[in-house]
Symmetry: C2
């Protein structure tokens, strides 16, 4: 902040000159920045306008600043952009764009998970709804609409109401508006849940393998991790019962990353475990909207009669991971505890985006959007499965097909994940090792590679896979396509005939 | 979620009919809701369309649903709106609007603090920037812009860069882009800071009186509170040194709620305390943009040479409390600890709103907006002070004038805060007791009333104060206006002449 010192030996103009010069040299004022107008600065500093003009004149004289007719005084570009200088977080551009040419540290194809193609965001509708919501808000007299999100600690009521309907229709979730808490995604949800655990709960059970970002939260909050093996039909409930944990984080509808569906027997056993130990089940229903074959699997919460399940979801896989819009459904029994623990807290989600999303849902856009996304993702999924089967045949095992936005490839040829990742990188394809999803100290992880396809356009997939084939030097095995494909059974049919139907449905 | 059970004795149409009926009776489907089209539902359930049509026909027959030509099947209004039924969070409408008629539980005037008038939000500009940002994002190929906020755990780089400039110019804050963390406001900021405290820090020092929402966070995280008395020139540093606390939460530029400014001597002593005990100072610069008289007071962070100050701010007082947009500036020494503690965390602030705000700042809108807000709030402040002085003269002491968005009235007539609040309420004026801002176990609080004026329009203020005068039955004392007004000294002059100047500045 510029300031003038009446006692300093330097005259005011000199003080202004020196301080602005420092701002320019330190990069605070990068090249191209317009300086505050002399009139405005004079007012701010309660100084004479001539004083400021003299200071600016000096800066121009020494070349720090250029006087641009019509647009005032502009900082002369002196040095590289601040951004270029500052170290730290990697520039998202670096491997952000798939169409970027392959090269050192760059990738022609990126199979990362948890991202979406830009086509996945409903730009036009969102733009229009924003305008509508803001125009309506502007008509409120006196009070900034902001207030509403302060009063409603659990989030906007209209949005929670739409969610209650949506979750019931789509996922069978039984809840009232009051059980719903809007939050900034899975991690904030877990961070606040940890706060309402009974103090004697010092351990948390996690599926092994499982979702790392959840593990991060529990560890960060000083909880001991109890890795529970994942079997073909879901977690090993016996191992869970043997563990000291009274709370488990689980993905019943589509186990992450294996894609396995928890059987109804396992679900019942899990609910019984919770009832007996008076424990808690945290159900992460992370990309349940996407099932390309067979009927959708209802949520675990929908069959919970004991109020032992907390249901978590978000819009990261349907709209955009960057909106940071998620929610949790608390069992009635936990509601008072939660409200007590967070009394005096504000809802931390933007009032504006909550209102926009509520309308997006109320007007049926979300339903349409999900149908569209399902169709597009099914197409990608089918293309990917076919390409993989053609390229690798029996030599890799494919986990988690028929749903979601990723696959897990299991290798048994003795190569290491590091080798597989590196060889893919050499051909400009970024793939991700699976073993970090296994908890250290648990069972030894198999050799797996995670392929996320939320971002890759389907017409690029065959090319990407053929590059992987070169990289990994596999040859199609005998025994017919997909014969050993694991997960939800036989391969999906591309079913082109279903396309017109679904589009009619939109 | 509707589902069909092939083994059930009921035919499919009956199953559909029963389930929809339940949804209607349970209020999941309120009156007026359009049912999914028969074609769509048939597809969802993989059932015949006739089956669905039969189910709908039955619902129409029994009056649950009405067939509306052109718009399909609509639920017949049966019962009060879900929202009316659900208890819990108070409807913001209830005392939300100032122009609402006075009545039981309602207020003609509400002096609450932490809210803003709706005129405080730049609707049009925000609308336009949203459109621009979304259109630009749409042009990115393949990748949903969402990704960016995932990579940048501390928040959008453009926004942080604008903040670094803004905070330096306005508040003298010295920092690089890398020291800034974007967050969902003060409370999330404090919650994460607590995580990086050394484990031996079990106590936190707080100004007494002070900001309750901060206290809530520290208590919620199991820290012991050490109340530090606030003197005329800021907190009692001796008392702080005597306390076990190694970290303090403080409001140096405008102590909340007394409005006192921490003297430079106190600031130096505080910084020295932190250096000696290797402690941390959390500076909440909460409404520093508003100073109506004299020069703005630079932040404490600006004179910290030891890297012992964490600077916190938000846009809640300038744009909207509901956007939940805040930031912290971490000292270099804390940066690695913070990044280590939150490795694997995503930034929890919407990518979209960060981009919009970054542009809002880059294009100079924020500067203009703040000037406008200062002007409007100064007018309100002056009107309020004049009205209070005319109404109560010497009989109340006014704390915290010349800045901010609230005043604290101190009473010495022996009346209790409860009486004052109740008598005001009887006349439809909502005011807030001051004593909850004092920490229990600290010094006994005086009788004070908090008047926030962020929401009240200035032309309503005299009326509101005259109602308070009736309520409290005060008469103007002798000894001239404002003679005993405390805080930043003598009263502000309305300075009408300054108005045209400032508007020119915009």
């Amino acid at each position: 902040m510029l300031h003038l010192d009446a006692d300093a030996k330097d005259p005011f103009y000199k003080q202004i000159y020196e301080q602005i010069k420092q701002e320019i040299l330190s990069g605070i004022l990068p090249g191209g920045t317009r300086l505050t107008s002399t009139r405005t600065l004079a007012k701010d500093l309660q100084a004479g306008r001539n004083t400021v003009e003299n200071a600016y004149a000096q800066l121009v004289l020494e070349g720090y600043v250029t006087a641009v007719p019509g647009s005032g005084y502009v900082v002369t570009p002196l040095e590289p952009d601040l951004r270029a200088q500052t170290p730290g977080v990697e520039d998202p551009g670096a491997d952000g764009f798939i169409q970027k040419k392959s090269g050192p540290g760059q990738y022609a194809y990126n199979f990362d998970y948890g991202t979406l193609g830009s086509w996945a965001f409903p730009y036009k509708v969102w733009r229009n709804l924003t305008a509508t919501v803001l125009m309506e808000a502007e008509e409120m007299h006196y009070r900034n609409p902001a207030l509403q999100s302060r009063d409603e600690m659990q989030g906007d009521r209209d949005l929670r109401r739409e969610l209650a309907k949506h979750l019931y229709r789509r996922r069978g979730v039984n809840c009232t508006v009051d059980q719903i808490v809007i939050c900034n995604g899975l991690q904030p949800a877990l961070s606040s849940l940890v706060r309402v655990f009974p103090s004697q709960w010092r351990a948390v059970a996690l599926e092994n393998p499982g979702y790392r970002r959840a593990r991060t939260i529990f560890q960060g909050n000083g909880l001991r991790l109890c890795p529970i093996p994942v079997q073909e039909d879901g977690i090993d409930v016996a191992a869970l019962s043997a563990s000291p944990a009274r709370v488990i984080f689980t993905t019943p509808s589509r186990q992450y990353p294996t894609g396995r569906v928890m059987s109804i027997q396992k679900r019942m056993a899990l609910l019984q475990w919770a009832a007996e130990c008076r424990g808690l089940i945290i159900e992460d229903d992370y990309d349940s909207e996407y099932r390309y074959k067979g009927k959708p699997v209802p949520s675990l919460q929908s069959i919970d009669r004991q109020g032992r399940v907390v249901y978590l979801g978000s819009f990261s896989k349907t709209l955009s991971p960057g909106l940071r819009l998620g929610y949790m459904v608390l069992p009635d029994g936990l509601l008072d505890t939660y409200r007590y623990a967070f009394a005096g807290y504000k809802c931390s989600v933007s009032w504006l985006e909550q209102k926009i999303l509520a309308r997006f849902m109320a007007e049926g856009h979300l339903e349409k959007h999900i149908r569209k996304m399902c169709l597009l993702n099914k197409k990608k999924h089918d293309t990917l499965i076919d390409a993989i089967t053609d390229a690798f045949g029996d030599s890799v095992r494919v986990h988690g097909q028929d749903a979601g936005l990723h696959l897990l490839l299991e290798f048994s040829g003795g190569e290491t994940e590091a080798e597989l990742v590196e060889r893919a990188a050499e051909r400009g394809v970024k793939v991700y090792p699976g073993s970090p999803l296994w908890i250290e100290g648990g069972e030894k992880p198999p050799t797996t590679i995670l392929l996320g396809y939320g971002t890759l356009p389907d017409d690029r997939i065959p090319e990407a896979i053929s590059l992987l084939r070169e990289a990994w030097g596999k040859t199609p095995g005998k025994g017919g396509r997909r014969s050993r494909a694991a997960g939800a059974g036989s391969a999906p049919d591309s079913a082109p005939d279903s396309v017109p139907d679904v589009t009619q449905g939109r």
